[in-house]
């Protein structure tokens, strides 16, 4: 009997382990409208009054009672554990319901989940961050990380593309980043209008203009798949090694922790093997484009 498993002790441990499918309650401490269809919530744990630790690129499963549960990346500063920040674009049932919430309302969170951006890889290298549309939100923690460890890397470049000037996310922050001497920020919109004096053109056209040493660059890309594919191709054309490119993938999710198979893409589960992947692993899985 000496080697028999202690079933009583094991079941006691299991009973105490938190149920990975049960959300924790968070209160909206701050609600900000960013653009006509995007908004940011700062959340505090109802029990602790604080946020959670996370690594850039990780996401939470956000649960709205009676509506549904969706994956949303954490878009705050990984150094700041006082709140959890999510920036969301209202596109459908859950995200639109979330947009109608207000300060003081509660929602559920599970996480943080997923493979983060490999930010340590950037040490001693140039860093190029390429974001499209709401894709800037999952990349903002990378930028915060890089700025907090600025002396560890060489050039730091942000290339951001979006639909039109009214869709520009984090406008004020972009302005303050642009004013820094240690960060090159390029913004381009697909459609310009009167009063817009910045770049107009697909975000990929910024790659040839930006100053970085391609052979010694690590690049992080997030946005629509077509955009990531086109930009990855341009970066490789400029000389960035393909294994130095990282992309963040999106698929609908249910469990968020590798149980249900809902997020399967080819041989991988986006929730547990990703959402961040080395580009060579995703090259043939990203949506193709034909011209």
């Amino acid at each position: 009997m000496a080697n028999a498993p202690d079933l009583m002790a094991e079941s006691a441990v299991l009973a105490e382990a938190p149920d990975p499918m049960r959300p924790r309650l968070f209160r909206i401490a701050k609600f900000t409208h960013n653009t006509h269809d995007t908004f940011t919530v700062a959340l505090e744990d109802l029990e602790t009054g604080a946020g959670i630790g996370f690594r850039p690129g990780q996401f939470n499963m956000v649960y709205l009672y009676g509506v549904g549960e969706i994956p949303i990346s954490i878009s705050g500063d990984p150094q700041d554990r006082s709140v959890v920040i999510h920036t969301t674009r209202a596109v459908g049932t859950v995200t639109k319901a979330m947009r109608s919430m207000r300060k003081g309302d509660t929602l559920g969170l599970r996480g943080p989940y997923g493979v983060p951006w490999p930010v340590d890889r950037a040490r001693g290298r140039d860093v190029v961050i390429v974001a499209g549309g709401i894709g800037l939100a999952p990349l903002r923690p990378v930028l915060y990380h890089c700025l907090a460890h600025r002396n560890e890397m060489n050039k730091l470049v942000l290339l951001y593309g979006t639909r039109s000037p009214v869709d520009i996310l984090y406008r004020e922050e972009l302005e303050s980043w642009r004013a820094r001497f240690d960060l090159d920020v390029y913004v381009s919109v697909d459609r310009g209008m009167e009063g817009w004096h910045g770049n107009v053109g697909f975000v990929s056209t910024l790659i040839a203009k930006a100053p970085f040493d391609a052979g010694n660059t690590t690049a992080y890309l997030c946005g629509p798949e077509v955009m990531m594919r086109v930009c990855a191709t341009e970066l490789i054309k400029r000389g960035v090694p393909d294994h130095e490119l990282f992309v963040s993938m999106e698929r609908n999710m249910k469990c968020g922790i590798g149980f249900c198979g809902h997020c399967q893409l080819g041989p991988v589960f986006i929730c547990k093997d990703g959402p961040v992947f080395p580009y060579p692993r995703m090259r043939n899985l990203l949506s193709p484009w034909e011209l």
């Binding site: 596109v91 499209g132 549309g133 709401i134 593309g161 979006t162 639909r163 869709d167 381009s188 697909d190 459609r191 310009g192 209008m193 009167e194 817009w196 004096h197 910045g198 770049n199 107009v200 053109g201 697909f202 990929s204 056209t205 203009k209 946005g223 629509p224 077509v226 955009m227 086109v230 484009w289 011209l291």
Partner: protein, 153 residues
Amino acid sequence: MDDLTRILKGLPFFEGFADEHLALLVGCARNERATAGSFLFREGQDATTFYLIREGSVSLNIHAPGQGPLIVQTVSENEPLGWSWLFPPYTWHFDARVEQDARMVVFDGLCLRTKCDKDPVFGYELIKRFSRIMTQRIEALSFQLMDVYGERS
């Protein structure tokens, strides 16, 4: 080497151009400046020139009925602007508005076309470069039209 030759030699657009071809280009080129808010050309005007922007930026605008001008592209440092001088009916299809004070090299289209006809190797080198730019621009415009940041349908 005169100033203009040195400037053209340093522009990526003319990378790999033979010296004798650069000399042909210089014969048709001049330096110019334009201030923000001015127009280099307007839709429907004769297209007699092309531009290589050295500093500043220029936007290309189209007018959709019932709407204000829509900016479809901006051209900035080291980029060429305009290929309508190459093909009949030699008219501009856009307005080109200077967004940030610009310095540029301006090429006389008729002068260049005449030299292209006389020296087909020179003409081929020039057309090769414009074809590459046109392909890139059409590709970028297609992605802009795809509205990739719109809602998934």
